[in-house]
Symmetry: D2
Subunit: 340 residues, 4 copies
Amino acid sequence: VNKYSKLHRVGVVGFRGYSGAELLRLLGHHPGVETYLLEHRSETEMRRGPLGVRPLKTVPATAAAAIEEGLAVVFLATPAEVSMELAPLYLKAGVKVVDLSGAYRLKDVDTFARWYSEDHTSPHLLEEAVYGLPEFNRDAIRQARLVANPGCYPTAANLAIRPLIEADVIDRSRGIVCDAKSGVTGAGRKPTLKTSFSEVAGNFSAYSILKHRHVPEVLQTSGLGEREFTFVAQLLPINRGILETIHIRVQRIKQAVELLAIYEERYENEPFVRLYAPGAVPDLFSVNRTNFCDIGFVFDVESQRVVIVAAIDNLVKGAAGQAVQNMNLLLDLPETEGLL
Amino acid sequence: VNKYSKLHRVGVVGFRGYSGAELLRLLGHHPGVETYLLEHRSETEMRRGPLGVRPLKTVPATAAAAIEEGLAVVFLATPAEVSMELAPLYLKAGVKVVDLSGAYRLKDVDTFARWYSEDHTSPHLLEEAVYGLPEFNRDAIRQARLVANPGCYPTAANLAIRPLIEADVIDRSRGIVCDAKSGVTGAGRKPTLKTSFSEVAGNFSAYSILKHRHVPEVLQTSGLGEREFTFVAQLLPINRGILETIHIRVQRIKQAVELLAIYEERYENEPFVRLYAPGAVPDLFSVNRTNFCDIGFVFDVESQRVVIVAAIDNLVKGAAGQAVQNMNLLLDLPETEGLL
Amino acid sequence: VNKYSKLHRVGVVGFRGYSGAELLRLLGHHPGVETYLLEHRSETEMRRGPLGVRPLKTVPATAAAAIEEGLAVVFLATPAEVSMELAPLYLKAGVKVVDLSGAYRLKDVDTFARWYSEDHTSPHLLEEAVYGLPEFNRDAIRQARLVANPGCYPTAANLAIRPLIEADVIDRSRGIVCDAKSGVTGAGRKPTLKTSFSEVAGNFSAYSILKHRHVPEVLQTSGLGEREFTFVAQLLPINRGILETIHIRVQRIKQAVELLAIYEERYENEPFVRLYAPGAVPDLFSVNRTNFCDIGFVFDVESQRVVIVAAIDNLVKGAAGQAVQNMNLLLDLPETEGLL
Amino acid sequence: VNKYSKLHRVGVVGFRGYSGAELLRLLGHHPGVETYLLEHRSETEMRRGPLGVRPLKTVPATAAAAIEEGLAVVFLATPAEVSMELAPLYLKAGVKVVDLSGAYRLKDVDTFARWYSEDHTSPHLLEEAVYGLPEFNRDAIRQARLVANPGCYPTAANLAIRPLIEADVIDRSRGIVCDAKSGVTGAGRKPTLKTSFSEVAGNFSAYSILKHRHVPEVLQTSGLGEREFTFVAQLLPINRGILETIHIRVQRIKQAVELLAIYEERYENEPFVRLYAPGAVPDLFSVNRTNFCDIGFVFDVESQRVVIVAAIDNLVKGAAGQAVQNMNLLLDLPETEGLL
C-alpha cells in the first residue's frame, strides 16, 4: 500500500555518527526512498544488534558505486574535510549532494579559512552551493545540485531573528545576544575528554565564546555585522536539543501581539515553525525528536526588551531532519514527507 | 585537639530542605560550633539512615527553646512566610538570625509586595536587616542582629558585575544581560511537577523571564535600573550549581588585562572569589561543593563586548556556605572557618 | 491515501500521565484509529504547547459519552482504583476496555487484596479479564471484552523466562533471580519525593524488595512458586526503559546454541521479540521508543549458569505499545499496525 | 594549630585520573601529610583552573626523586602495566607503595594471566603484596611494604558476604548472585566510546558478564569457588557509586535479627562499615563522597532468601579513600584520619 510507485535511491556517508544514524532512522520511515549505506571509513564501531534484522545495502562511498546503484541523492554526514573531498566526486557523477558539514555554507573562501582554520579544498563549489534553510531559500534548493545543510545553532538563530530583522523592528545599535545551549550529540560521536560522561554529567560549560564557527554562518545569512551579533555556545548535560535565549531591544512596538503578528505573517505556511502565545516559550521537550523549530518570546514594553526562546532538536531540524526536508525539495516530494 | 575551647551553639530551622541539609553538612565540619535541629514543621520526610549514627539534638523552633539552650545564632532555611514569622521572635529573644529566604533582602516594602506577591508581615525589620554579601558588606554584617543571606542568582551576579560598575567601565546604555542557569536543588525539596525527574532529565527550560524575584535584589544592591538589567533564569538538568553568562559592552578598554586588573584590585583579599586568566572561564565543576565564586571573561576589543562567566554552587556560596560565612562574621570567628 | 476506509474511534482515560501521553503519541501515528481524550480528573497539568495545533476531541470519561461517540475501545491509563470503577461501566455500554493498571491482572481476589493492600471493587470481572501478553495469549485476546494489559516488569520477565520454563531446562530448585531496573516514568507523573529530580539524579536505589506487586503477576502467568522467584525492583536515574538481569541454573545444556534454539522456536513468528547471539545482550538504547523486547544471554557450561538480559521500553512494550498491540487484536487490525 | 608536628611526605602517580584526583582531594584534607605530584605520563589534560591557586610540588615519577624528596609512601593510581613497572622501583628505593591497580591483588600468576590477558612483569612481588582490605587484613597491612588496594566491586562484595560465609549460614549449594552496578568514573578518565556521554546518559548496560576481572579477587579473598559466585557488572548513568544487590539463600535462620547480629559482631569496631535495620537498605546517596560501606538486607524466613544491598562510593571506599585508610595504617596514623 505504498503511495509511491517508484522509490528514489539515496545514500548516507558517515552513517555511524549521530547525524548519520538519525538520517537512517528518518529515512527508514520515509515511504519514498530506499537507503544505502556508503562506507567511507570505519572510525567508530557499530552497536551490536539483535539477530534477524535485515541490514541495509552497503556499498563503498565512491562515485562509481553511486552511479552503479543509481543513487539520486547522497547525504554527507561527515567532517568538513571529508565533505570537501567527496562532494565534487558525487556532483561530477551526476548525484545531488546534501552536505551536513560546514564545508559549503560560507560563500567566502577567506571567511571559511579564518573560522575553520583550514584551507578549502574545493572552493569552486562555494558559489554554486545553496544554503539549505527551506524557510528562507526554498526555490533555490529545489534547483540545486549541492545543498549546504545549515548548522544546528544557525538554524534556530535564523528562524528566530530574521523575521524581526526583515520587519526592521530591532534596535541593532544595542546588539543581539544569542545565548545558546546544546546537547552533547551536537559534538559528534568521536570520543573526547570534553564529551565523556564523567566530564559532562552534572556539569555545564561555555565554549568557543565569541569564536564559534557558526557565527559567520549567521552573519552571512542574516546580514548582521560581527559587532552586532554576540554568540555563546554552551554544553548541556543532555543528549539532544538546542535552546537559544536571544536578547534584543526593539523599537516602536506597543504590544506583544505586534511581534507575534510579524512572526505569524512570515511563517504562516511553514510546516516546521511553531509559535507560542506572547509570554509562553518552548522547552527542549517541546521539540524532542521532531523537525519543528518552536519560537516564543517575552516582551517588556517599557524597556522595549524582548527575550526570544527558540528550540530545536539538534539532530533533527538541526541536522538530519532538515537534510531530509532538503532532499524532499530536491526530489520534488512533499516537503514534510517522512518528517511528521 | 579542637582549637576552640568553647563552642557556640547554633540552630537550624528547615533542616530537612536542601539548604538546611547543606548547612548541617557544613556545620558538622566546623570546629567552632555545636549544632541543634530546630523542629518547625515536618513537611518532608527524612532519609532513613544507618544504625548507630548519633542524632543531633532536636528542640522546637521557639524562642523559649533557643533561650534555654543558649543558642547564639539561628539559621532560617525556610520559606519567606516562615522567616517573616520566626525572625522577630528570635531577635526579641536576643538570638542573632541568618535568614536564607528572601524575606529581609529588599529594603522597600512595596517592592517586596510587588515581586513576592504577598504583604510583608514584619516590615519593621527591613531597615535593620543587613544584606549578607560579605565581599561588599563585611563590616555591617559583623554588627548585625539580622542577616539577610543573599539569593543564589544575585550572589553570582553581584560578584561578577559590581567591580565593573564601580570602576565605571560598563556602557550602561547598552544594557546588561544576565543569562542564568541553575541546578534543580535551587527550587527546594518540596515535590512539584516542575522539579520531578521525568520533566527535568533530558530537558532545559527558561522560567520567570524578566519577572524573577531575584531581579529587584540585584537592582537594589548594584544600583542598576530595571531597564538596564535583563535577567533570565533557566533550569539545568543537574542537582547543583549556578552558571551565569553575562553580556555587557564596556568603554575605553584597550586590553583584557585592564578588566582583569579591576577584578584583581577589588578581590585581592577575598578568600572566596577566584579569577581566571582572560579568555578562560569556569564551569560548574570548578566550584562544585565549594564556597567559591569563580569569575572569568572573554573580551573583544573591536566591539568592546565582554562575556563574563560566573559560577557558584547554589547550595554553598549561593545559600548555606555564605550563611556560615556570615555566621563566622557574627560570632567573630575567622571568616573562612569550616569553609575551605 | 489512508489504507483504511473507516477509522475506529478509541478513547484514552488518563491521557495526562506518562502512559496516557505515550498512548496518544502511538495512536497519533496509527492509520486505523481516531483518538478521543476522555476527561476524568485533572490531577496533573498539561504542558503548554504551540499555537495552531488542533486539539483532539475531548469528552467526559462516561459510558454515555462513549456510546454517543461510538467508541470501540477505551484505554484506561489510570490507577487501579479508577480502573475498577470505570471498566464495568464501559463494558456494560458495550465498549471494549484495555486496562493498563493492575486492577484485572490477578485472577484471585485474595491475592489482589494481599499485594495491592485494598479490596477489589469489581471482582466479578476478574475471571473474564484476559491477560494481554499477545505472545502467550493471542487467541484469547482477540475474543476478549476486557484486556488486562501486563505490568512492565512482568512483560520482560515472562518473555525472558517462559520459553525456558516450558522447555523444562531450568533447575528450579536453585531459584530464579530477577534483578530488575526501571526508569522513572514507570512510577507515574504524580510528583513525589521519591521521583523528584534531586533525589533521583546521580542516585540508584532498590525498592519493594521481595514485596513488589508485580511478583504475583509473574507467578500466576509463569506457574512459578513464590519461593522460586526472587524479584528486586530498582530505580534508574533515566526516564525510560526496563532492563532485567535474570540469573538461573539450567540442566543438561551442552552448548549455548541449544538455549538460543529454544527461544528461536518459541518466538519464530513474533514481531516484537528479538534475540541476540549467545554472549551478546541488549542495553536500554536497543529498545528505546520501540515495542520490542530484546533478549540475550551468557551461558557457562561448567556451572550451567545462565545470565539472561531482557530489555523493553517501559512506556511502550511495558505499557502503551503493548496496549495498542492488544487493541489491534481486539479490532482485528494487523497486530503490528502503528508500532513499527 | 596542626596536631601533627611532622608531616609525612607522600606522592601520587596518575594524579590526572579520577582515582588520582580523588586522592589529591582527600590528601588535601589530611592533616598529617604533604602531597607530591609524581609526573609519569601526561595522557590526559588537566582542567584549567583559577589564577592564584598554589600548585602542589611536582617531581618525576622516579625512585631517585622519591629518595631525594624523602617520600614515605607512593600511591600508584595507574593501569596495571604501569604499576607492575613502578612498584618494584619504589620498593627497592625503600618507599612503601599503595597500588590502586589490579597488578598485585591476585596471588597466583596464572590466574592473573587468565583474567588480565597479559603476563605479570613483576611476579616476585605477588607473594609479599598485602591485600588492602583493612576490615579483614589490618595487622598485615601495618607491616606491609606493598599494599594491593582492593578493586571497587570486591570491596563491597567482600564486606557484604564474608561475615555470613564465616558464620557458615549461607546455603552455598544454591550459589551467590552479585548483581553489581557502578558509576562511570569506575572506568577511568581515558575517553572511550563506551564511556562517552551520549552512549551512557539515558542508557543502562551490562558488561563482562561472568568474565569480569574482579571475580577472581572475590574468590581468592572469600574462599568461594567460581561456580558458587555469579557476578554481573553494569554501568549506571551516574558519575560515582557502586551498589551491589546480592542474592543468597541461608540455612537455619529464624529471624532477621540473627543475621543482623552476625554483621554487628563482625563490624562492631569498624569505623567505615555501617549497618541498617532489617528491611532497610542504603542507596548511593547514603555513601556519596564518604569512605563508608553501607549494608542492609531483606530476609524472607519461609524461603530463607536474603537480598543484601551494599553501597560504596567507588572513588572513595572503592579506591582513593581505602588507599588513604591503608596509608594511615602504613604510617601508624589513626586509621580514620582525613576520612571522616
